[in-house]
């Protein structure tokens, strides 16, 4: 049980708790803020796992852009500012069952298959910018280009969808 494990464990708990709060919060804005906490904890987890670039990209994109976008969306759709009783739909029991089942199955799978798998972080190359960049532009150029096309398409699509008829 190294220090890394402990840190990871704590961050994991924080992440999970924040996630649960995201899906059970009564305020939409609170849910968004808890999402920020969750993403932050995840970024920390990535850091522990030596994925530096991914961690900062997580912070940048997810927390910085995605959650902000969601907050904008909530604002534009006049999300109720106060607590809303009916934020959870009547599907809750079924959803709980489904969620538990999914978690159970996946967890069992993971535990059964990868018991004893141990990440040795001391002998891995740290995934910093140089490392990931080299790998990205040496081996994954094509997906990179396609990703940019995807982003363009999403941009155009979003504008078209929200365009008001003149």
């Amino acid at each position: 049980m190294t220090l890394a494990d402990v840190v990871f464990g704590l961050l994991g708990v924080v992440c999970l708790a924040a996630a649960i709060l995201v899906v059970t919060a009564r305020h939409v804005i609170h849910a968004a803020l808890w999402l920020v906490v969750c993403f932050g904890a995840l970024a920390g987890c990535y850091l522990v796992l030596t994925a530096e670039l991914v961690a900062w990209v997580q912070v940048l994109i997810y927390i910085g852009a995605v959650v902000v976008l969601m907050l904008f969306g909530a604002m534009l759709t006049r999300a109720p500012v106060g607590a809303v009783q009916e934020l959870d739909s009547r599907n809750r029991p079924v959803a709980a069952v489904a969620g538990l089942a999914t978690a159970g199955v996946l967890g069992t799978l993971v535990v059964a298959a990868f018991q004893g798998a141990y990440v040795d972080i001391h002998h891995t190359a740290i995934g910093d910018g140089k490392e990931i960049g080299t790998s990205l532009f040496r081996f994954f150029v094509l997906p990179f280009e396609i990703a940019s096309v995807l982003l363009l398409a999403a941009l155009v699509g979003a504008i078209v969808l929200t365009k008001r008829e003149a």
């Binding site: 739909s89 599907n91 079924v94 999914t102 199955v105």
Partner: protein
Amino acid sequence: MTHLAWLLPALPALAAVVGLFVGTRVAGGPAVPAILGTGGAFVMSLLVLGAAEGSPAKVHESAVAWTPIGGQTLHVGTRVDGLVAVIAVMVCAVALLVQVYSTAYMAGDPRYSVYAAEVSLFTAAMLLVVVASNLFELLIGWELMGLCSYLLIGHYWQTEGARAAAVKAFVTTRFGDAAFLVGIIVLGVHAGSFEISRVLAAPGPRGGVFTAGVILLLGGVVGKSAQFPLHVWLPDAMAGPTPISALIHAATMVAAGIFVVARLYPLFLAAPVALTVLGIIACITMLGAALAALAEDDLKRVLAWSTVSQLAYMAAGLAVRGWTAGVYHLLTHAAFKALLFLAAGSVLRTVGTNLMSQMGGLRRSMPVTFVTAVVGAAALAGLPPFAGAFSKDGILDAAHERGGALGTAVYVVGLLTVLVTAAYVTRFVVRTFLGDYRGAADESRPRLHESPLVMTAPLVALATAAVVLGLPVLPHRWGVARWLDAPVGTTALHVAAGGVVLSTALVVVSAVSVYALWRRDPAADPLAMLARRPFANAFGVDWFYDRALVRPLHAFANAILRLDDGGLDAAVEGSGTTATGIGGALRRLQNGNIQTYASGLVIAVIALVVGLSWVMA
């Protein structure tokens, strides 16, 4: 000539077909093909009579082999002997007179061509029965007659009474016809062939099966000739036009049953039980029908009950081996009953109602009808020298000679019936023609006048026949027995003077008493004290049939209907409803909420994963 006897049924049948299709376009109306066809048959029948002339050696048969279903060969043809020739003449004569009479009676009827065609078809069917050489041929004609009777009784199908009467006649005779068919089959199988000559001459033991077959034949006779217990259709059949009543229900169809017994008489002689049964039925019918006629107010129904009673006379005559007397009575009855019905038609057409309580005093306004009707009435009552007298006395004489229980019973019941017959005949004449007119006195009163010549001429012709036919009891050379060839073992026609005096005395006593009763109150029914139950509703036979047969059958049919509606239809429709219901239930899943869909998806995937991993583990 006898080899052309097949023309006898063929000509009227042809006239029927032609008349049906071109009747309305022929100049002179639809009656022309009918009268031509029937007239031709009449001429033919006279020629055949001349050739056959009542000698057993002159029996002529001709047949054509016919294999309708490729197995059994039927020989279809004609068999002409004295009886056949005489009856054929009678049928053609009455049919011709009725067709002529109908041109005036049914004038203005929009369906006259259909009527004339049906009457021609009926004539053809009756002649087929008469000249048939094969039992199945006879059956075909028999059934065709039943069909034509149904169609003609129901001629005024717009009225409920006519429809009901037609169905009743058909169904009641059907009962008898079923037994008739079985009887024919039994006898045919027993004799090895269905040809009449073979069946009559078949040797071999005449045991229980044979007797059963003969008794079954009686079933058809009882049905067609309206004897107890299948007599109930005849009075109601008066809902048809009066010329039909004259032709079918007086002279021909109802006489067909008697004719069949006469034709197949050797079979009956070999199965004496059948004759006894016939005799008992005849006695019951004879007196019962006569008593029912006493209480009827409807003119035609009186005549209908009278027909039933007279047919019983014929049957009784045959039952006591008085073959010649029975057949002779058939001939005379045809004459005077047809006459009476046509006279009644003449009266009805003028007065406009059937009820005798609305008639009276018509002898002044309808003299020809009156005179001919009185002649017919006298013949019916049995007053010599009119026709019915000697034929009736011949039957009574044969019964007396037969002796035994059956003979005595027929004799006594016959005499009683003479008494009652004279009573109702007198009542009929007195209420219709004598006294003063009792109908409406205001402007709805019909114009009372004599009928046209076309109608009175047949009346006169039949009246003449009613007188002339009384004569053949005279010396052998002119006698009726010469024309018929009686089977061996039957009593010859013999009329004793004592018997004639006795029955005449009974007739006179009865007639005079009724007349005297009438004189006391000319406007009322002289026998009003009898016009109550059980005479008035014919001893409740109809009521019994209604309760015992008609209502249970209706209830059963309704139950089946309910079973079909509630059970089978409900099951079939239920399957549709169930399918719709299941569909509706399944539709609940498609509620439009994507979270429902997604939940289902997730749970299904999990279940698949778990299931598969468990199976493959």
